[in-house]
Symmetry: C2
Subunit: 429 residues, 2 copies
């Protein structure tokens, strides 16, 4: 056996404690798989006295995580305190500058500073690893960075925020409003302290930006991710979508188009019988479309102590086995600046609105849409044409700006009673 | 950049040609991801004159694959000729004895000689890699061997033979008999030269044995895989299963039980709305249940030029990046002999038979079953009790031997007209 490899963990919350527990409970198995002992030598967290389900006795305690990052007796610094800036960022820099590999689950930090940190790590010949930052226990990073490394990636997609998927499936299954389910999720501890990180799509957007960098060889560009949250999704839209054979998901899509890199995280209608359509509760799923592999679909728990800790362990074990891959798929010096697309690819759209209670309003709306280049695939009105019932339209593929202009023209005809709800329909299997 | 790494491919059939084409078409991308050039220096195959869609001009041609395996100008020997014995086995041994890493897609060879070949490879400090041997383009090996290395695996499951899944889903969707669909599959070139490899479950059994070794740290033990093919599945059973909310899949299950290692590859009823239940056509799926990760599900194309070549590339790229993992999850010297279980875990069962056209036959059957410890969950008879219509029974969990004894007792009562069809029901989500 080689010398043991020594780990320091900053942050003993759910995930950090989970990692420590696995290192203790599965020690024999892990050491044998690595042909090397992995030792947890030092930790740092807010409260030393908190009960965490594992013994701290033989582990050095550091009050200050910066001191942990530069300890001589650690080889791997595991950052699990979170936050897009300091002290996490500073601690990682200190660790790299002191010759430690870094493992983190911090997607916010990576989305903002990942490129700079990767540059620092690679300049020192060190690894910066983050399997746990995207999609919990699912091997989203390794599959893209290693298994599919022989492929050009045509498109990547995913449901990457368990809280949003929980809210959307729960609304449908329990027939409850967004507000009611949001409150339940909050009470269950599913929602981040700043809820817009989850329901605003920001957290999932961070993950999408990380995957895009690896898939397309571009520097992380979170700022150009088109973001739309799930806050305005109503139970009515969920049921209308269901009637049409769709479910609504907070879906991330990233692809290289002729106009540049398209990255968007937004509620979408997806076919109810597709794998993503059937994803329930807090599960996550990613789909990679490689030019040779075809679509590869991965799913599993997107969060939680065990799954996230399992992914942190995967990174630690890679390091114990002396395995290295470029942080973002290629040496960081070869990544190119992303050129964000000026316009997303054409898509079909779901449009819901309410029409005035007078004869001929449907025809007026359809005509106005047609005049502005929108062709209608399906139209549904649950009640008689002349009653102010919701009307739902599914368009053929069009550019979002074309649709937006057309809807402005419809509004000018004076037939609609409320602002249309517009949701993209994503073409997946 | 490092020195280039040099590849020799033995076998330029579909997959071998696919690998060569990708090495040429995606060369720039792959070299940049490896920070190293991957060169295809030499090949060997049956016919030099055959058109393969890529230029052979700058590549050395070897008539004899053993000569290819010992060439000084290759670092990686890629074996894609297949067959569980020589010449594939000899060629791999020669390659390892001459200091070459080996990449293969040959599950039959691995199931039989994998342990011995791994021993040779590891004794020489070389890698024997086989991502393409299991589940085509899906990263089944890497996920288990690396991503889940921090987990005890509780159970692994999978649909790993695309031909069988194609046949079973096509029977249902086109309402055709096994024989008719088998012939179609054969005409489409989906069936191996020896069809029992596919429809007899042998090929899938090979794959299951390989995964079991990695998951449970045991020497490969294909001989103790319980094998049952799909040849006797009728369209009637497919529809009866559907009515009960199930679909029939050739499902592999492997788990450690109190009685030892249980490995079985057999047709099973699985819930129609489960991920495996919804797997269509030639797709493959594996599910790993880690003690921390929870269930991780992977799916994609189980065969075909692009997907399989993508997995071969994944192995080659790992080697180009100098990344190494133990062949079967642990150093081969630490693998223990598998102790096959003496009896599979209890399961629910589907039983279909035909009863005599006389009063009280159902009651007689139910009584005989009950007397022998079989408790009935559901019973269906499509027509009136006294007509010789098929009767379908779903049992509660029981041991297969208990059920078998009970059915013998039922037969002795003289109420049944044909031998019962018995299919296991697998408890998955």
């Amino acid at each position: 056996m080689q010398d043991s490899i020594r780990v320091g963990i900053a942050g003993l919350g759910t995930v950090g404690s989970g990692v420590a527990k696995i290192l203790l409970s599965n020690a024999h198995l892990i050491n044998s798989r690595c042909n090397r002992k992995i030792e947890l030598t030092a930790v740092s967290s807010r409260s030393k006295s908190k009960q965490r389900g594992f013994p701290l006795k033989k582990i050095h305690w550091e009050e200050n995580l910066i001191n942990l990052a530069r300890r001589d007796d650690i080889d791997i610094f595991v950052e699990l305190i979170g936050g897009e800036g300091n002290p996490a960022k500073e601690a990682i820099e200190v660790a790299l500058n002191h010759g430690k590999h870094v493992v983190t689950a911090n997607k916010a930090l990576l989305a903002k500073h990942g490129h700079q940190l990767a540059k620092l790590a690679e300049s020192k010949g060190l690894s910066l690893k983050f399997e746990a930052a995207v999609a919990g226990g699912i091997p989203a990073i390794k599959t893209l960075n290693e298994s599919l490394a022989g492929n050009k990636i045509n498109r990547l997609m995913g449901v990457m925020n368990g809280t949003c998927n929980y809210i959307l499936t729960r609304m449908e299954n329990a027939n409850l409003s967004y507000e009611k389910v949001f409150k339940q999720a909050k009470d269950l501890g599913y929602v981040e302290a700043d809820p817009t990180l989850d329901v605003g799509g920001i957290d999932a957007g961070h993950k999408l930006a990380i995957l895009s960098s690896i898939a397309f060889g571009t520097e992380i560009d979170f700022d150009s991710v088109y973001l739309q949250g799930i806050e305005s999704i109503t139970i009515q839209d969920i049921y209308q979508a269901k009637e049409l054979g769709y479910r609504i998901k907070l879906l991330g899509v990233s692809q290289k188009t002729d106009n540049g890199l398209e990255q968007r995280m937004q509620p979408c209608l997806v076919p109810a019988n597709s794998a993503i359509g059937q994803l329930e509760n807090a599960m996550n799923m990613v789909i990679y479309e490689g030019d040779n592999s075809g679509p590869i679909t991965l799913s599993g728990a997107g969060a939680g102590e065990g799954p996230t800790a399992s992914s942190v362990l995967s990174d630690i074990i890679d390091l114990a086995r002396d395995n290295k891959v470029p942080t973002f798929g290629k040496p960081v010096t070869e990544l190119v600046k992303a050129i964000p697309t000026s316009r997303p690819a054409p898509g079909a759209y779901y449009v819901r609105t309410k029409l005035k209670d007078s004869p001929g309003v449907l025809a007026k709306m359809a005509t106005a849409l047609g005049d502005h280049g929108i062709s209608i695939d399906r139209m549904r009105q649950t009640q008689h044409e002349d009653v102010a019932a919701p009307v739902v339209i599914v368009t053929h593929k069009t550019l979002p700006e074309t649709l937006s202009n057309a809807l402005t023209a419809v509004a000018k005809t004076g037939v609609i009673l409320e602002d249309p709800v517009v949701i993209r329909i994503e073409d997946i299997q």
